[in-house]
Amino acid sequence: MSEHPQGVSVRLRGLRKSFRGVEVLRGIDLDIAAAEIFVMMGPSGSGKTVLLRHIIGLERPDAGEVLVDGKPLPEGSEPGGVRMGMVFQSAALLNSLTVSENVGLYLEEHRVHPPHIIQRIVAEKLELVGLKGAGDKMPSELSGGMKKRVAIARALVSEPQLLLYDEPTSELDPLRSVTIGREILALNRRLGVTSILVTHDRDLACGVAHRVAFMSDGLVSFVGTPAELRETTDPLIRDFLTIDFNSNRSTSEIP
């Protein structure tokens, strides 16, 4: 972890959320330290993305609380004084803006820098994610993987204290996945950004995480280091980590 963290801590207490009578989060308690890289894994539909949306304030819990940097998120839909960024699973680029305009949107709207500085920062971030020269393209001209990289560049320009990634390496080739993983690590080391990842990518999780949480059925069933995760005897987690196409166990046995 960074020695001089600018990242913020996240504390979740008794978090519960239901949608149309279906309880998606059933009492989540988690403590994520400032400047930590925290990965959440678990089967699809276990509530990971909903949890992420609570942390950034896009959802309000039915019960419990989310404390970011020791303070509850302000009422309303926007995050408060803490700079947060989120990389959505669908990338969520603004389709009416070019790639450059998407990446520079935060800086432009908050008048953080003059236009020529914004242009330079945007070019730097695009180069970082391997999209040098793609600034004038529209999102509709990009592949899924390229959109995801633009979304990562967009999240980075605000120099966030808390960065949330929802499946950051889905739709990316293995080389680009490793590059993104290394960038998550580099950001953490350089700036001490607190990073929370939701992923099914076992290599990414074990490669970058300081700690991993495993979620199933709206509950956290395991929290520990990647080494502890590999040693766990929980059958669901073991299957999740080890199952492959040659495995004898049927996937129908996995919830």
């Binding site: 960024g85 959505f88 908050h110």
Partner: protein
């Protein structure tokens, strides 16, 4: 229904509070104005020409039969300025621009673009609603003034060319000048401002409330247009009542 009205009122208040940020969003306001002008000017011209023409065609021969054909200019002048131009243009804009607003914002909502704005601490009301509402509030009344002039011209064309009416353009416009006062034009103008705000807010609210996928976007567009038209026609009655009080 009542929930939608409440949400429109709340959005109206949030937009009012955001008004000081209009200058920062001036490029987007200009884009909206261009959209209104570019998308609707030709259609507004055509519609207004035929509105003036059909009123002349319906009423001109009957007035002429009764020996009061000379009053046609005033009749068309008042009906176009006070009712037809503001109401018809507002309905046209609800169909062309309001539907586009609801579809664009609805699509942004469905595809998480609005969530992305929120995570960047960008207020969707400032970024999406304010420029659209300001743009339509400036654009629609301008279009209505244009529509009044073209509508009067359309009436004149039929009044002069139709043998059953048989007016000269001088007779037509003299009567129009005598009967249409500045306040009559102002009444149409004031109505169009209110209708513009209603179309803008209803369309944006429907966009922001969109749920589901493409089907949800389609439903929002339909609701935006239908609700806007219903509100325009209901408000037209009450605005007329209020403005008549000021005329006395």
């Amino acid at each position: 229904m009542f929930r939608s009205i409440g949400e429109v009122a709340l959005l109206g208040w949030q937009t009012l509070v955001a008004l000081p940020y209009t200058w920062r969003q001036r490029r987007k306001v200009a884009d909206q104005l261009f959209e209104i002008g570019n998308a609707s000017l030709f259609m507004a011209c055509l519609l207004s020409l035929f509105i003036g023409g059909v009123v002349a065609l319906q009423s001109g021969p009957r007035l002429a039969e009764r020996g009061i054909g000379g009053m046609l200019g005033g009749l068309i002048g008042l009906s176009v300025a006070e009712e037809l131009a503001p109401v018809m243009m507002s309905i046209l804009i609800a169909g062309r621009i309001g539907s586009a607003m609801a579809a664009e914002i609805g699509s942004m909502r469905v595809y998480q673009e609005i969530d992305a704005l929120r995570t960047m601490n960008i207020n969707p009301v400032h970024y999406l609603v304010l420029p659209r509402v300001v743009g339509i509030t400036v654009g629609l009344p301008s279009l209505v003034i244009f529509s009044m002039i073209v509508g009067w011209g359309g009436g004149a064309l039929v009044a002069v060319l139709n043998r059953d009416i048989g007016l000269t353009s001088a007779e037509y416009f003299n009567d129009l000048r005598l009967n249409v006062e500045a306040f009559d034009v102002a009444k149409g103008f004031i109505k169009s401002i209110v209708f513009a705000v209603v179309v803008g807010l209803v369309s944006c609210q429907q966009g922001l409330a969109t749920m589901g996928g493409p089907r949800g976007i389609g439903q929002s567009v339909t609701k935006a247009v239908v609700n806007s038209i219903v509100l325009i026609l209901i408000l037209d009655y009450f605005l007329t009542r209020v403005l008549l009080v000021f005329q006395r």
